[in-house]
């Protein structure tokens, strides 16, 4: 199962993902109409700037297992798909109690501007690759299986180690 994985060291804080996300989740999917649209199209990914560490970190739903947001939701508006494990939100069932937002460890459950309903990442069901990932100029966001990303990171780490062993590290 592919997931949106973040490589925070690559994020430059350009917020292209936020814009792509909002457009993808608009009625029209057209950016020009989207900015005029009501309810206002809303992003579900948040680039957090951490000045103390000169870093920008994209925060998005991790689609956790036994996701706390789904287990606390009193109306089952938040549900985890049994096969894909994607956590989705049904705004028709949402009562705006914000219990989900209170228990989310990542603070990635927001609020629709005009209505008392929650807004969160649904991994772009109509696309092969989520919009945020496709827009990212630096590959800080990747759509990949955990196993595969771990493999990529291992290769990178092994390369650095090998270079160090040969005295080539700078």
């Amino acid at each position: 199962m592919k997931e949106v994985m973040v490589r925070p060291e690559r994020c430059m804080g350009c917020r292209s993902c936020e814009i792509a996300c909002a457009v993808e989740h608009s009625e029209s999917k057209d950016l020009f109409a989207a900015v005029m649209e009501k309810p206002t199209p809303q992003k579900r990914i948040y680039v957090e700037y951490v000045p103390e560490y000169n870093a920008a970190i994209p925060m998005t739903c991790r689609h956790c297992e036994e996701a706390p947001c789904t287990t606390v939701c009193p109306t089952k508006a938040l549900k985890q798909d049994e096969i894909t494990r994607v956590v989705t939100h049904n705004s028709d069932l949402c009562i705006g109690c914000w219990t989900c937002s209170m228990v989310c460890n990542y603070g990635v459950i927001g609020r629709q501007k005009e209505a008392r309903v929650a807004v969160k990442c649904n991994l772009c069901p109509n696309r092969d690759i989520p919009a945020c990932v496709e827009a990212c100029p630096t590959n800080a966001l990747v759509f990949i299986e955990v196993k595969k990303l771990a493999g990529v990171k291992r290769t990178e780490a092994a390369l650095k180690l090998a270079r160090g062993m040969q005295g080539k590290a700078l």
Partner: protein
């Protein structure tokens, strides 16, 4: 118009030439689709690219020709508008001579449009034709021209992925050319060492292995210091220096004075870091230099560029994959506008004005009796001359002088002083407000033509949409204007103009419309129809007459204006990721404005403390030229004593000075003296 949906197109913002698709619905652009197969951006887009539809479909788009009357703007017919423009141009010409006319071309317009634009100017008898490259990379043309023989990026962007060391100086590509970071990060994954020299701590510095925070305006000292270390530690590529360059002895002589301790005192960088940077760059198997306006926008701009070239040359880091010098240009067609001769001292293809042979070639091609012989005024000089009443009629195609030139108040006075000003644009920008005649132009998605990206990649853009209202493609406007001026142009469309360009510009010799439409274009030089383009320059010889590069020693010079008791802060300017240049496009995008709404000034928390300034306070900034308001943003990104203003909002260039580089005539946007108070 060919019907393709989605229609492939090229981003109109920076110079990278990123590709994407426009999704069309009922003749309107209804969305974008990413283009993962594009060699530059591999599908990704920065926030500006992502919001480009907000520009295309904006209600502010100019739709009709407008004439200024005593009661305000009056809508007129095209016929009347062009008759008026032609009559005013001819009137000035007859009464005051050809040099009373001036033309500012556009780095946002196609090669064909700029070619025709400068041809009109020159056939009317003046070389007063220039473009905004004067404000960003004129010093690249002069600096790389005299050392390497040609002022262009030597290697494609994708090459960075195979560099072992990347030395970035005066470029914040993470914000301004985001897709470049993709390649730099790729190189880093393979173990590349990245050095970033910048007075500010930018997102580009975040990915550096070594960050050098130099005092603004001390780049030559740093570069000479690194070369001093390289020479004294025997890290020079002797064979390369001997076989392929001239002038090593003179350079070595000057470098003696730039020992790391002296350089450390000038630049504020610890000497150990200068040595470390020099060693990393020189020892790498392949090393690239990436620079941008932090190098070029100084009174020592040409010298800064020259020093970058010297550094690459003595290490032999040029003419091969993964090496080279990569000046990242600003606009989607600034390289092309220069190639096309929209420059006061160059004909198309960089034949020097004043060289009888170059003039002869153009004369024969154009069937002209005589072409003006002395170089014209540069963009910055045109403003000065207009202020003095020497320029009577100015024709501006797609540029906002008021916000992009230094010392805005003086620019406004100069524009008011003109007898007649024509502005051809897609929006009523702040310069158009001073115009007598405003002509509505088509945007990138509404016209066809070729565009040359920073990596010399010439791509063909096809029209996807009809322009709004009566707006017309710039090329069409110029064709009709030329006709009214009595110039006999045989072309019917951009493809035919490109045919003449390939005869005029040797590097475009093999470039034709049909070839460009395939495989993401061609990288010049492409001298003939069978040639497949030249991604890497200078592999065997340099573009100088004898094929050898020149090592030119340069000395450190202080900026024109330094902080003093009256103006204690050093003000530097630059860009942010969410906006673009003078802002006439990006400041109309709601999604961008939502994230960056107004002019802010970065100030170090220590300075803010002593002046009792808090985050979000409204400040008044004053320089010797004027004053402007900005919101305080407290950050250690800037050093104490330094202020930073983005130049995307009106106000920044009210403060900057018009001190010019001697050779390139580029203004020193990067250093001015300034003071602040609570507003």
């Amino acid at each position: 118009m060919e019907e393709k949906n989605p229609q492939p197109t090229i981003c109109p913002y920076c110079s990278l030439g990123c590709g994407f698709y426009l999704k069309l619905e009922a003749g309107k652009a209804a969305g974008i689709r990413y283009m993962p197969e594009h060699p530059v951006n591999e599908g990704s887009l920065c926030p500006k690219g992502n919001t480009v539809l907000e520009v295309l479909n904006h209600p502010d788009r100019l739709k009709y020709p407008l004439k200024k009357t005593e009661t305000g703007w009056e809508r007129i017919e095209w016929e009347e508008a062009l008759d008026l423009a032609a009559a005013k141009l001819k009137g000035s010409l007859e009464e005051y001579g050809p040099d009373s006319l001036a033309f500012l071309g556009s780095a946002k317009c196609s090669n064909e449009e700029n070619y025709i634009f400068q041809k009109i100017a020159r056939l009317l008898g003046t070389n007063n034709v220039d473009n905004c490259a004067r404000l960003c990379h004129a010093s690249t043309l002069t600096g790389l021209g005299k050392t390497l023989g040609t002022g262009a990026m030597t290697n494609p962007i994708s090459d960075l992925a195979c560099s072992e060391c990347i030395f970035v100086i005066g470029s914040n590509f993470a914000e301004n050319h985001p897709a470049v970071s993709r390649r730099v990060l790729e190189a880093k994954e393979k173990g590349a060492f990245v050095i970033v020299a910048d007075p500010r701590m930018t997102p580009t510095s975040w990915l550096a292995d070594l960050s050098l925070r130099l005092v603004p305006g001390t780049d030559v000292a740093l570069l000479n210091g690194m070369m001093h270390v390289i020479v004294s530690e025997g890290l020079v590529d002797r064979e390369f220096a001997r076989e392929r360059t001239k002038g090593f002895a003179e350079l070595e002589n000057v470098l003696q004075r730039y020992d790391p301790e002296t350089v450390s005192r000038i630049t504020g960088i610890p000497s150990a870091e200068i040595i470390k940077a020099a060693r990393a760059y020189a020892r790498a198997g392949t090393a690239a230099i990436v620079y941008s306006m932090g190098i070029t926008q100084h009174i020592s701009g040409t010298d800064n560029v020259t020093a970058c070239a010297d550094l690459a040359l003595i290490c032999g880091h040029i003419g091969k994959k993964g090496a080279g010098i990569l000046p990242l240009r600003g606009q989607n067609n600034v390289q092309g506008a220069c190639d096309m001769g929209a420059l006061s001292e160059f004909f198309p293809g960089y034949g020097k004005v004043g060289d009888p042979e170059a003039a002869g070639r153009m004369q024969a091609l154009w069937g002209a009796k005589k072409l003006p012989e002395s170089p014209g005024l540069t963009a910055t000089e045109i403003v000065g001359a207009a202020g003095k009443g020497k320029i009577k009629t100015l024709y501006v195609m797609g540029e906002d002088l008021v916000n992009s030139h230094p010392d805005s108040s003086r620019v406004k006075q100069a524009l008011e002083n003109l007898d007649f000003l024509v502005v051809q644009d897609i929006f009523m920008n702040d310069t158009a407000e001073y115009a007598d005649l405003v002509l509505p132009a088509a945007s990138f998605a509404e016209k066809e033509g070729s565009f040359t990206s920073t990596e010399r990649r010439v791509q063909w853009l096809e029209p996807a949409l009809m322009p709004p209202g009566e707006a017309r493609a710039d090329l069409e406007i110029l064709f009709r204007l030329a006709e009214k001026l009595g110039l006999d142009f045989p072309y019917r469309d951009a493809g035919e103009v490109l045919e003449e360009i390939s005869a005029a510009v040797p590097a475009y010799g093999g470039i034709a419309k049909e070839r460009l439409k395939k495989d993401f274009g061609l990288i010049w030089p492409c001298p003939d129809a069978g040639h497949t383009g030249t991604p890497v320059l200078h592999t065997d010889s340099f573009m100088t007459p004898d094929g050898l590069a020149r090592l030119v020693p340069v000395e450190h010079r202080s900026p024109a204006e330094t902080p003093g008791p009256d103006y204690p802060f050093l003000l530097t300017t630059g860009r942010t990721v969410l906006h673009y240049n003078a802002g006439s496009m990006s400041r109309r995008c709601k999604s961008l404005l939502k994230r960056e709404a107004e002019l802010y000034v970065e100030i170090h928390p220590a300075d803010a403390r002593t002046m009792e300034i808090r985050e979000g306070n409204k400040l008044v900034l004053e320089s010797r030229r004027g004053s402007t308001k900005a919101t305080a943003r407290l950050t250690e990104r800037v050093s104490p004593g330094v202020l930073f203003l983005p130049f995307h909002f009106p106000g920044t260039n009210v403060l900057t000075a018009d001190a010019l580089d001697r050779e390139a005539k580029i203004p020193e946007f990067k250093v001015s003296a300034c003071r602040i108070r609570r507003g």
